[in-house]
């Protein structure tokens, strides 16, 4: 590892060749923000087209490319890498490790991401256009009927998958091997726990996604018939494989968010997290259940009734551990000494909106009712409540919470609060009306709609523009903090925050915990 006392290298090579978990974390975070802006741009095009009935801006085929790329970029480019970035920055600091277990692999797992997304984005300029089959890419629309760019899409998915798997392996290896002496599993902060479980999910299911796209590739180019009925295959098999990956994927996205909120809420409640052990068990229960509920995405494919009942009951069961988590967070706030700085606002925003998303999730789990909800805007509203208000709000909360520790500078609190309120209002104006149009019968992924959906769609679009614009304020606030924020000298930063990372100097030095900390002196968990 060479001389531990030097700082970062200078210039571009610092970033290209770095094996430092903080540098890599920073790159992941910036990359994911860039993807968030790109995916957001696609969303703005979608909402602009849907502002009024009739086709105004884009052609239907291009609209489908936008919905597809919006989904892919947000899930694989924005949300997942952002949490990997957070894990890189925080896990070593939280468990008292000097770095990740496999620093060089860490470098690779980041640096294959940008070429992967470049490949995906380049499909926009290809003959026949970008993938236009939705982020769920159901066969045969994505095989026999796809534009030639689908091959690039498949390779891009492979690259992203490999990156994710390498990142997860690194996280597991770090947590299992690099904990400071005395840092037992049940003393780990909840963020580390949720990531630990998430990483196992990723290692288990990203290869399944790779398998699905490999089969597509073989069907398209090598004459196999995995998904084509003509050769004895079955397009529904694709859906089973995809959702066997896809449902755990949903929890891959939300579990680290649970972890963040479990750090932030106790800090600003000045009170330990309620039910730490049950939080860990609930997370594990959700992860295990996520493997046996996949077909609830496919209630309308015509499964035998016994299958429908099994998947319905299993899905409903997930409400139990999820409920435990929500109750625990509320109990953490109960009789605390609350203050409402920006990270806390975003975490409370998460809690409220994620709970609403959880309720609609429970409604969607009811198979007969799902026949009316399936593939409508009700579903769109549901998963944006858990993905945007869930994952993105908690990620935003995390950035505000740890930014002072990372940079040694304080963000502008007023601007942060304004950012929260505009986001919160903008988000709800965008997505709440989508419940209504969905229930009233508007299918998802349509570029145009009947007149009775016009008013709510206009509201939705206005909300989306507001929410989108508020992210510019976020970007400005972060850059302004880095460049000229008020210096924080207190290593604690937040008076209620607990955990090893807050015992480090502010800003966190390039190398930390080269000598393992003494755990006995620190509280069990934050």
């Amino acid at each position: 590892m060479g001389d531990h006392h030097h700082g970062p290298a200078k210039g571009l090579s610092r970033w290209l060749f770095t094996t430092n978990h903080k540098d890599i974390g920073t790159m992941y975070l910036w990359f994911s923000f860039a993807m968030f802006i790109l995916g957001g741009t696609f969303a703005m095009i979608i909402r602009a087209e849907l502002f009024q009935p009739g086709m105004q801006l884009v052609e239907p085929g291009f609209f489908n490319q936008m919905t597809t790329l919006h989904g892919l970029v947000m899930v694989f480019g924005a949300i997942m890498p952002s949490f990997v970035g957070l894990a890189n920055w925080l896990i070593p600091m939280m468990i008292g490790a000097p770095d990740m277990a496999l620093p060089r692999m860490n470098n690779w797992s980041f640096w294959i991401l940008p070429p992967g997304f470049l490949m995906l984005a380049s499909t926009l300029f290809m003959e026949g256009g970008a993938p236009a089959f939705g982020w769920t890419f159901y066969a045969p629309l994505s095989t026999t009927y796809a534009a030639p760019s689908v091959t690039f899409f498949i390779f891009a998915i492979h690259v992203l998958g490999i990156s994710s798997i390498m990142g997860s392996i690194n996280i597991i290896a770090t947590i299992m091997n690099m904990r400071a002496p005395g840092m037992t599993y049940m003393k780990m902060p909840l963020f580390v726990w949720t990531w630990f479980i998430t990483a196992f999910l990723l290692v288990a299911v990203m290869p399944v996604l790779a398998g699905a796209v490999t089969m597509m590739l073989m069907d398209i180019h090598f004459g196999t018939s995995f998904f084509s009925a003509a050769g004895g295959g079955d397009p529904v098999l694709f859906q089973h494989i995809f959702w066997f990956f896809g449902h755990p994927e949903v929890y891959i996205i939300i579990l680290p968010a649970f972890g963040v909120v479990s750090q932030v809420i106790p800090a600003f409640s000045r009170k330990p997290l309620f039910g730490y052990a049950s939080m860990v068990y609930a997370t594990a229960a959700i992860a295990i259940l996520s493997f046996v509920v996949w077909a609830h995405h496919m209630y309308t494919v015509g499964m035998p009734v016994a299958g429908e009942l099994f998947f319905m009951y299993a899905t409903m069961l997930i409400a139990v551990p999820t409920g435990v988590k929500v109750f625990n967070w509320v109990s953490t706030m109960w009789r605390g000494s609350l203050s409402f700085e920006t990270p806390m606002l975003f975490s409370i925003g998460f809690l409220v909106l994620f709970t609403i998303g959880g309720f609609t999730g429970l409604m969607l789990s009811i198979a007969p009712a799902d026949f009316q909800y399936h593939d409508t805007y009700f579903v769109v509203a549901h998963f944006h409540y858990v993905m945007v208000a869930g994952a993105v709000f908690s990620m935003t909360s995390a950035v505000y919470f740890w930014l002072p520790k990372w940079t040694g500078r304080m963000y502008n609190e007023t601007m942060g609060k304004v950012h929260f309120w505009i986001s919160f209002v903008g988000f709800n104006v965008t997505f709440f009306p989508q419940h209504f149009v969905g229930l009233a019968g508007m299918p998802r992924r349509v570029p145009d709609y009947a007149l009775q959906f016009a008013d709510f769609n206009m509201m939705s679009s206005i909300g989306a523009f507001v929410y989108g614009a508020s992210q510019i304020m976020f970007l400005y606030n972060v850059i302004a903090t880095i460049v000229s924020g008020e210096k924080v000298s207190d290593e604690q930063v937040w008076d209620g925050a607990e955990g090893l990372e807050w015992t480090l100097p502010t800003p966190a030095p390039y190398h930390t915990f080269e000598v393992p900390p003494k755990i006995e002196a620190t509280p069990a968990h934050g």
């Binding site: 277990a101 392996i169 004895g232």
Partner: protein, 186 residues
């Protein structure tokens, strides 16, 4: 294999990489065959067996009648004329029944077709046995030629009592360009 005392994570990483590779293989060697097994067992998608049923002739249950409907559909780009000779039959469970599907190739080129069967309700698929079916093989037809394709089936006496109608649908695919590879209908 690799013992890097300098880096305790390497062992864990190798094990996990093996898990990831195993999961990739799992999709091909477990999920796909398992799906087929489950389809056969549960009749998912109304799939029926791709091989001729050869069980001993069963006793005919004349106390029950089951309505059998036939549907013929052409897939995209398939120009053949394709229809059942009778659209509906009433049979007794256990009785072997014959029927015929008519196909004609209106183009001037020889073509090869594959008929894919699907039964609904899917619960009935496991009780609908084909003793002879044109769907077991690809069907070549010269340009402008026509043919009558036979189907013989038996409805199992164990068919659940609440099933009184079974619909058998065939979708005809043009496999002229795929032919040559051995494709078994399922």
């Amino acid at each position: 294999m690799l013992r890097l005392s300098r880096n305790p994570g390497a062992d864990t990483a190798i094990k996990l990489a093996a898990v990831a590779c195993a999961m990739f293989a799992f999709v091909f060697v477990v999920m796909v065959p398992l799906y087929d097994v489950l389809c056969d067992a549960l009749g998912i998608n109304g799939k029926t067996s791709g091989v001729a049923y050869t069980a001993v002739p069963a006793v005919v249950d004349t106390s029950r009648e089951v309505k059998i409907q036939f549907i013929a559909t052409n897939n995209d780009g398939m120009p053949w004329e394709f229809r059942p000779q009778v659209t509906q039959l009433t049979v007794h469970p256990g009785a072997a029944t014959d029927t015929i599907f008519y196909a004609a190739n209106p183009t001037s080129l020889p073509m090869i077709a594959q008929a894919i069967p699907s039964v609904t309700p899917s619960r009935a698929a496991g009780y609908f046995h084909k003793t002879e079916c044109f769907c077991f093989n690809q069907q070549p037809l010269e340009g402008l030629a026509s043919t009558e394709m036979p189907l013989q089936f038996v409805v199992d006496q164990d068919l659940p009592k609440d099933i009184r109608t079974i619909t058998l649908s065939y979708t005809l695919f043009d496999v002229t360009t795929m032919a040559g590879s051995t494709i078994a209908a399922r």
